[in-house]
Amino acid sequence: MQYLLHILILIGIYVILSSSLNLVAGYAGLISVAHASFFAVGAYAAALLSVHFGSPLIVNLLCAALLAALCSLLIGFPSLRIRDDYFVIATFGFQVLTFSVLNNWVKLTRGPLGIPGIPRASLFGWEVSSQFEFLVVVTVLSLATIWCCKVISESPYGRVLKAIREDEMFATAAGKNVAAFKISAFAFAGGLASIGGVLYAHYISFVDPSSFTVMESIFILSIVIIGGAGSLLGPVVGAVLLVSLPEALRLIGLQSAIAANVRQILYGGLLLAFMLWRPRGLLGRFSFEKDVH
């Protein structure tokens, strides 16, 4: 039972991460390999705030989201204002930077040692103590994230994003400031992703740099692509599949040292297979056929 709750909580966190990335990759058509950075910003913000100040969940969420959105402006502004093919490079650079900062800014982050002893989340005086209660919080926040994505995709704002994804020139001719739309979508997605980080930090009660590598970014991206970019439920299906499938490896008794690698080889292989045979993913409507060059 505990184990099942654990998996469900992880799925909830990854639904938040992948749905937010879907806003960028699926709706605006931009591939980002920096999503683990925003995950990290959220996790470390929550860790530091609650360890040092014992701040409540709401404060952690707000601070993390603001900080993550600011970071995404740092990438989005120089790359998206100019041309698309810079975006993936800028996000890649930022991902490498984040990992390096987490490892090296020892005074703040304690480097590779990580930050242990993160207190449980507290909400208006109520401490989220049991695993089940935490699952409720995660579920509420992941539903809220999905709702945000739904509202965006049905709004005039989302209509412009979809237009940009399909044909930037057409959107421009319609008088849309394409770069501004991409930058705002990216910043919003960064803010949303940090929610996943905050939850992760409170749940595991420990953060260290190794959870926020390029590999993690690729994993979140794979969830979106395999589930189906540009559809509301694609990332949800992707998260359920990619988080729970590797757990089967544990059930068949694979050593945990090997299991981590096999799990990643599995999703890397899935990503490849989908690119070869079904680039639009399970539920996707859109398969990155637009050529950026």
Binding site: P156, V160, D167, T172, A173, A174, G175, K176, N177, F286
Partner: protein
């Protein structure tokens, strides 16, 4: 109808590598005027549109729309300044419905701001209903009423071109640049498209129309510009064009 000069292009040049596509093009346009732009293939007509609408930067020259200098502005600002264009190969968002394509062109929509997505209010809702009504009317008039909610990918080629013009009209721009709006379209549809273009005159809109079909040009244009190897060879009423010796040369060459 005022005949005051309201849009002007002055000495615009553009070359691609060694190819001189526009070699000092100048002309003026007044409000409510429908100008035909003709010339052999490769004359530089589409390039002229790209330069005017800001998609290509000219090597030199000035372009002025009712007091605003357009050269150097990003294309989206040019569109917002009241100049809209279609593309020779029609572009549309196939995954959006017909009416969504039209709505995309409505200007200054508060709903297109991210913060309004979550903090919507009655005024915003009213605005959206209003533009949706307008878009419906427009599509009815264009004869696309029954296709309103289908994805744009389901339209025929002629309907696509009709829709691109409907999009331009929805943008409420003062100047429309239409690149071959009837090329490749079935005859029944041609009449409807030409009618929509003619109607723009009475709405005080100006149009520049690229077209190879001379009958269509004769039908809707009050004035014609003939472009050959990047320069204006002849500028006059449609009947002048047919008798101009340089035009005949250009076509016989």
């Amino acid at each position: 109808m005022s005949t005051k000069v309201w849009f002007s292009v002055k000495d615009v040049r553009k070359s691609f590598g060694g190819v001189l596509a526009l070699d000092g093009v100048s002309f003026k346009l007044s409000r409510g005027e429908i100008l035909g732009l003709v010339g052999p293939n490769g004359a530089g007509k589409t390039t002229l549109f790209n330069v005017i609408s800001g998609f290509d930067a000219p090597d030199c020259g000035r372009i002025n729309l009712s007091g605003t200098e357009l050269v150097g502005l990003p294309p989206y600002l040019i569109a917002l300044a009241g100049l809209v264009r279609t593309f020779q190969v029609p572009r549309l968002i196939e995954n959006l419905t017909v009416i969504e394509n039209v709505l995309l062109f409505c200007k200054s929509q508060p709903g297109e701001r991210l913060r309004n997505v979550f903090f919507s209010n009655a005024r915003l809702k009213a605005f959206e209903t209003e533009i949706a009504e307008k878009a419906k009317d427009l599509l009815q008039k264009a004869g696309l009423g029954d296709k309103m909610l289908s994805p744009a990918s389901e339209l025929s080629y002629g309907q696509l071109k009709l829709l691109t013009i409907a999009c331009c009209i929805a943008s409420d721009s003062d100047l429309l640049l239409l690149d071959e709006p009837i090329a490749g379209v079935a005859p029944v549809m041609i009449d409807r498209i030409l009618e929509m273009i003619s109607d723009l005159r009475s709405a005080e809109k100006s149009v520049i129309l690229i077209e190879h079909n001379m009958d269509a040009i004769m039908h809707v244009c009050s004035r014609v510009l003939f472009l050959d190897v990047g320069s204006v060879v002849c500028d006059g009423v449609p009947s002048d064009i047919r008798s101009n010796s340089r035009v005949i040369d250009a076509y016989l060459r």
